[in-house]
């Protein structure tokens, strides 16, 4: 319920860092992390695709771990460090991966792309030279309707090879 006069105010105050900046907000306990990011903080790069944990469009990093923003509540992130595509893009940590996605045309409509990038970046942090099969497995929780995945796998491979050489 919302906080109207006479109603019980059940909002909760949370403090967290989002893309490196401290954030303090009152939120409804029922609000998902991705809705909080999109509608309270106006970080619209994280997308809502299914709201039941299948599609991966809402993927964000919480304390360094890629999670589904639709399966986590904002209140669970109190005290956490949250990173979204906006933060990753600004820091430049995945600039080569983003460039590889562009070159391989590993995105069409771009709606899955923020989640794909975060998931692929996470794979590349764990595995320096993943095989195409390992890439497909790592991305198997991120739905893309446009590309058929072939170009996404190629972009991640290209990035892994370049980082290996680098």
């Amino acid at each position: 319920m919302r906080s109207d006069e006479g109603d019980v105010d059940d909002t909760v105050t949370i403090s967290l860092t989002v893309n490196g900046a401290p954030v303090r907000r009152r939120v409804e306990p029922r609000q998902s992390l991705v809705d909080f990011l999109r509608y309270e903080l106006e970080l619209t790069g994280s997308h809502v695709g299914c709201e039941h944990g299948v599609c991966g469009a809402c993927s964000v990093r919480v304390d360094g771990v890629v999670v589904r923003g639709c399966l986590m509540l904002a209140v669970q992130c109190d005290g956490s460090r949250v990173e979204t595509i906006e933060g990753v893009a600004a820091s430049g940590e995945a600039r080569d991966l983003q460039q590889a996605f562009a070159v391989e045309n590993a995105l069409q409509c771009g709606f899955c792309t923020p989640g794909m990038l975060l998931t692929a970046q996470d794979l590349l942090a764990r595995r320096s030279n993943p095989s195409p099969e390992e890439i497909r497995e790592a991305l198997s929780g991120n739905y893309c309707r446009c590309t058929g995945y072939h170009a996404i796998v190629a972009a991640v491979r290209r990035t892994a090879e370049a980082r290996g050489r680098g």
Partner: protein
């Protein structure tokens, strides 16, 4: 093909899409990202029953909820938004019932919107929707198309008399004679399941009615903004010029976002009613019951063949279920119509008979989805060809070669009246065999069979209907533009701004248009900025669907670029006191055509034309903004062709089908951007694979959708998908200067047939055969006998 451009050409180059930079940075602007002052959100109360009379709707508790602005039922919107009927005049005898934004009197499918709750947030609107109490009188549901026309089956819309939306009967040549003369007659019935688009971005619309000016601005995740503008103007009673539709980033479409949806019309009507912006973003669960569904066919096919493999004739009987309404304004008859008209078109035999029945049922409405009719047509045709080859002990490659419409037969008119300017079946087949090492794969398959591994190879030849002219919708009375415009303006700085009527949903339309314009004018790609999807400023056009972007939008861009180039050269000639023909434009520089010597650059030309025209001759007026339009006038469609090959392995213990690799060779005419075409093909193939193996909207007998979430409805994910090899033959159309044809649906057209044939090839040594789609493990195991 002669060069269409002077100097540097980007045609045929895999230019990287500049627009991806913002999407890669999370800075796309999708409809749900747009926020307006005083914006409200709507959530819909949807029918929990497939067929039920609305006895009463009690909105008191919802209306009393703090933050709820309005609770609206169907009757309240009747005076705001007029109803619609999804028929087209050229489908003779077609009928459908009046549909409205919110159901009035009764609901006809599970998921039909019956009431709207408008509130300060989506969450509050949903809270309100949960408090709306509807009382229902449940009616018997019509679900199975096979019994929809039985006298004992209830009629969904009594005013229509029966559940038949449309029927068609076609005869070419003398099919009876062909069947009499045949050595072998093969008969098979195919059951093709329902599936849907599952665009990752669900449907979304934000309507902003300004009651002071009585103007409506709509942000819409949509493919055809001018179509939406026309329909909103007519059904809301607003002047057309006062309705503006803006399509910014669109998160996938595939034909899902080209139809009129009751909930979207209701959202616009609510904005008019309340005088405030109202946003509707479908959630995934309501997408499954409200996005248009696709396919659901039962096709009986018979093939008459001579012993040597010559196809003499064919009969096809298609029964397809479309839900309770034919969808407005394109109708739900096109899917079946194209299925029976396309099926024989790859082959030269003339004797063909087809019948089609399109029936109403109490399921989500069905309508055009990527490759409309094609996947069913070619799965059926090519399965019959493979079966004939197997029974006659002929090579499936040679069986096709023997029956193709061959290079010496063009121009050619198909059995059902489609005109083919020039197709390349034989070249495409040869190229496919080469790039796939088909014979090597056959040998490997045969060797592995001896070791108990069941691998299969499946071919599927296809044609694709692209670049449609007015015969598609316009002649039937639908106000859907078949022509498209392009405007290009030379900015004073020498850069180009381009507006186009075709739209972008990830295909790279804007990049493709920029490549054409840059090449035609003679500037660098990065100097062209393209804007799509805004009815207030872009020239009138149809948008992007039916693989029309390159063939129509690309040709309009070419003609516009050429005209602007001519006008720029006139200004340059006036400045340089020479003839325009003496000059050329190369990468933004005016050069001497003969020597290439730079005479002038475009910023200087822009400065003079815009700020110092007093220095030009008194009788000279520069025209540096040019608009041109294009509509295909010489043929109804620009048909393309191709062939696919699927390589699979079937686990005969579990029934699982593993995709090993997939190939496609297609011919979309002159290619503007090879990488974008390849990726269209690959994505479309995976959509076809989804239909072939995984995606299924399963209903129970009461018309309840059983697979209405992404937990239950399987979409193709990365781990199961194969690598996809794409090859090309280029046969440009001579009817348009660019030579471009469409490529958007070829992948989906042929993939299901290729997979079906590959599975049947794998199962052949076991004497098993599947004829149902999706080919689930259950379907395979039933064919093999254990179930």
């Amino acid at each position: 093909m002669s060069r269409i451009e002077a100097g540097r050409s980007y045609i045929g180059e895999s230019v990287v899409r500049p627009q991806t930079a913002r999407l890669l940075a999370g800075r796309g602007v999708f409809t749900d990202d747009v926020v307006l002052p005083r914006m409200l959100h709507v959530a819909f109360v949807r029918s929990p029953h497939a067929h039920a009379r609305i006895v009463a709707i009690d909105a008191a508790e919802a209306t009393a909820l703090p933050g709820v602005a309005a609770v609206v039922t169907g009757e309240a919107l009747v005076s705001v938004c007029s109803g619609w009927v999804g028929t087209l005049a050229h489908f003779q005898g077609m009928k459908s019932a009046m549909q409205r934004p919110l159901a009035v009197g009764k609901a006809s499918w599970q998921g039909e919107p019956v009431a709207a709750v408008v509130a300060e947030s989506r969450a509050l609107a949903e809270d309100g929707a949960a408090r709306v109490r509807a009382t229902w009188e449940v009616l018997p549901a019509v679900t199975d198309p096979a019994t929809a026309l039985d006298p004992a089956t209830p009629v969904i819309h009594p005013e229509l008399g029966d559940n038949l939306a449309f029927e068609l009967s076609l005869t070419s040549g003398d099919p009876e004679a062909a069947f009499r003369q045949a050595d072998v007659v093969l008969s098979e019935t195919f059951t093709m399941g329902r599936h849907t688009g599952v665009t990752l971005e669900a449907r979304a619309i934000l309507a902003d009615f300004d009651p002071a000016e009585r103007r409506l601005t709509v942000y819409h995740s949509f493919q055809a903004p001018n179509m939406m503008q026309d329909i909103l103007a007519r059904h809301l009673g607003l002047p057309e010029q006062d309705v503006r539709v803006i399509c910014r980033d669109v998160g996938g479409s595939f034909g899902i976002k080209v139809h009129i949806y009751p909930d979207e019309m209701a959202t616009c009507a609510l904005s008019v009613m309340l005088g405030r912006p109202v946003k509707f973003t479908a959630d995934r669960l309501e997408s499954f019951v409200s996005d248009i569904h696709a396919r659901e066919h039962r096709v009986k096919a018979e093939l008459a063949v001579r012993q040597d493999g010559t196809i003499l004739g064919m009969r096809v009987d298609d029964l397809t279920g479309i839900g309770p309404y034919s969808v407005y304004p394109r109708t739900s008859a096109v899917e079946g119509n194209q299925t029976v008209r396309l099926a024989p078109g790859v082959y030269r035999f003339r004797d063909y008979a087809a019948s089609l029945r399109v029936v109403f049922q109490n399921k989500t409405p069905m309508c055009q989805y990527r490759a409309v009719g094609h996947p069913i047509a070619f799965a059926v045709m090519e399965a019959m060809v493979d079966r004939a080859a197997r029974e006659l002990e002929l090579d499936p490659v040679e069986m096709r070669r023997k029956n193709y419409v061959t290079a010496d037969m063009y121009p050619h008119t198909s059995q059902t009246g489609y005109f083919f300017e020039r197709l390349s079946h034989e070249e495409a087949l040869d190229e496919l065999l080469r790039i796939a090492d088909y014979r090597g794969l056959c040998a490997e398959r045969d060797a592995l069979r001896a070791r108990g591994m069941y691998r299969g190879l499946g071919l599927c030849a296809f044609i694709e209907l692209t670049t449609p002219g007015p015969a598609f919708y316009g002649v039937g009375g639908a106000r859907i533009s078949s022509q498209d415009g392009c405007t290009v303006k030379l900015e004073p700085s020498g850069k180009l701004t381009c507006l186009t009527g075709v739209t972008e949903q990830g295909q790279g339309t804007d990049t493709m248009i920029a490549q054409v314009v840059a090449s035609a004018v003679g500037v660098a790609m990065e100097d062209v900025r393209v804007l799509t999807g805004d009815t207030l400023v872009a020239p009138y056009g149809g948008g992007t669907w039916a693989s029309r972007g390159a063939g129509i939008g690309g040709e309009a861009a070419l003609q516009t670029g050429r005209a602007l180039r001519g006008n720029i050269l006139k200004v340059a000639a006036a400045m340089l006191q020479c003839e325009p023909d003496d000059l050329d434009i190369r990468l933004g520089k005016i050069v001497d055509a003969a020597t290439g010597e730079v005479r002038l650059d475009l910023p200087e030309l822009g400065r003079v034309a815009y700020f110092r025209p007093d220095t030009l001759p008194k009788d000279f007026q520069s025209e540096l903004t040019v608009t041109r339009h294009y509509v295909p006038r010489h043929q109804g469609f620009a048909f393309t062709n191709g062939i696919q090959l699927s390589h699979v392995e079937v686990d005969v213990q579990t029934g699982f089908v593993r995709l090993l690799r997939h190939w496609c060779v297609e011919d979309c005419g002159r290619i503007i951007n090879p990488r974008l075409v390849d990726e269209q093909i690959r994505g479309a193939i995976v959509q076809g694979i989804g239909a072939a193996l995984y995606e299924h909207l399963v209903y129970d007998e009461q018309g309840q959708l059983l697979t209405g979430s992404m937990m239950d409805y399987l979409v193709p994910m990365a781990a199961e998908m194969p690598d996809i090899v794409v090859g090309h033959v280029e046969t440009p159309t001579a009817y348009a200067d660019g030579g471009f044809k469409g490529a958007g649906e070829a992948g989906t057209a042929g993939a299901p047939g290729a997979v079906l044939n590959a599975v049947n090839d794998a199962l052949a040594p076991l004497g098993a055969r599947v004829t149902a789609q999706p080919i689930t493990p259950e379907v395979v195991l039933r064919a093999l006998g254990p179930l």
